[in-house]
């Protein structure tokens, strides 16, 4: 299993540009998440999905959009990029079967985005 993969690894955007961060998992996980990690701030949840076709907002959704057309893929769309969106973005996934005791999230390697 490749686990959670993310592309690209690095990207520089100009203010106002748009882009899509790709995330794919091959563990057949139902839940997928997007976080941003700012220096000294921990991780903040942007959006999450509990299954194909179902998404919901996290703590910091403004300026982002997501879709979940398949179990495997969960792309994050940035529209009209702003300097405040400079961050490292992590995609994660988890499985929640019936009676699951823990909720382990598996993280991808991250995408470092700079908006200038």
């Amino acid at each position: 299993n490749a686990g959670v993969t993310q592309t690209p690894k690095f990207r520089i955007l100009k203010i106002g540009q748009s882009m899509t961060l790709q995330c794919t998992q091959d563990m057949n996980h139902n839940y997928m998440y997007w976080y941003r990690q700012d220096p000294g701030m921990g991780l903040k949840l942007i959006y999450y999905s509990v299954g194909a076709g179902i998404t919901d907002k996290g703590e910091v959704p403004n300026g982002y959009n997501v879709s979940r057309s398949t179990t495997e893929d969960f792309p994050l769309r940035l529209e009209l990029a702003a300097p405040s969106q400079t961050s490292v973005y992590f995609c994660a996934s988890s499985y929640r079967g019936l009676g699951a005791v823990t909720d382990t999230q598996y993280f991808g390697p991250g995408t470092r985005l700079t908006v200038l």
């Binding site: 839940y31 000294g40 921990g42 992590f90 993280f107």
Partner: protein, 114 residues
Amino acid sequence: QQQVKQSPQSLIVQKGGIPIINCAYENTAFDYFPWYQQFPGKGPALLIAIRPDVSEKKEGRFTISFNKSAKQFSLHIMDSQPGDSATYFCAASKRGSNASKIIFGSGTRLSIQP
């Protein structure tokens, strides 16, 4: 109520020492407390986790101590090694919630000196 406060922000320990990282939470509904380890350029990875029905959990050289009444928990690393140098995040969540959200602490950058 949703915050998890983590300290210290950074920590330097000599090899063989026992670094201790502390976290405090406010929401008494949290019932799952994981610790994540993150190496530079990598995503966080689950290290060890505890539920509030026990006061301590050990996995190898890593130990979580949990104090439910004080709403605090801490990570201890026994016989620390330079390879343990990483950023450590505590977290808290409420299992069974629809969102499966996890609230992360701000992280501790640990450096183990040889």
